[in-house]
Amino acid sequence: MRTAFMTTVLLAAALGLGGCASFEGYPSHSVAADEVSACPVSAGTLATLQRTDYDTARKSASTSDAERRRLRNIFIDSCMGAINASYRAFARELTGDQKYFNVGTDVAAGGFTTAATLAKSARTKTFLAAYATTILGLRSSVDKEVFLGKTLTALTAQMDASRKVVMVDIIIGRNEPDSDYSLDTALLDLQELYEAGSINSAITAVTADAGEKSKEAKAEIKEFRYKSTADAQTDKIYAYFAANTPGDGARLSEIVKCTSSAARMTPMDAQLEALRVSEAGSPVERAEIVGCLKGKNLIQ
């Protein structure tokens, strides 16, 4: 079901974007130089100055690794601080919007479009409206708990979890020498930290997780397939059982008692085993049941 949903969403996205002349399906070949070396969240000129200090130190042969590491960590700390402050503000907006979901609003009727209309912040509105384009109309395929009433709770929890995973990498990197964890490498992790706090990233993670759970659930269903070998002995057993007449449960118990292969099974498994022998077992197994029932004077 979720795989079908993802396929449909991707197809809808592809169709929707197909009409856009500028859509090429891959990132641009060129970007501005300052975007490569900048913190994903701007904190005024502070980060730029720190970056300049680090680059100057790196070019100088006389600067020690310890000094470069110190300058790198100043940049990392400032950048992480900016990303975290930005995320906290974003999460607060989402939490504020969550209240609107819970005031008896029929979110299901409008999905993300309704959510976007109710969202009090322009930024959240933009995010939700963007996803409404592809998700609207596909609700029946989606786990309602993830994408409807509990949307923002689930997505915020996912963003928090994803950010913690990336933060661990950055904290480990901070303790490495500059030669092993340069500022440019740190910037990759900082960019990832920023992305982990986005709804886009959270939806991807939640959907992937839901897919795994779906696979696990399917793996829990074991199949037992039998081909009928029923014969005249089967008919004798079934005639005694006389399905859907009073006392058929008690008569099934007698058949189970006469099924030697069901002896050590749980009651439900024993009944299924008696059915297997009667319908798809060997003639010898069935003859044993018939003989047993005759021995108890239950059948002629």
Partner: protein, 63 residues
Amino acid sequence: MSELHETPASEKKLKQVVYEGVTEERRPTVIRILWLSKAIKVDAVKTGETYTITALIEVPAAE
């Protein structure tokens, strides 16, 4: 604050029992025994002259 709950299907262990080639006369008996064995769903699909009977059965937690 709402909580996210697992869907019940992912928490249960289930087994599927399939019988192929069951005759019209024997079909009610097979279905009845499957229901008595705590099947939660039983389907019978006619394939030519016979039926394929599929039952979904919940496995007790102890198993």
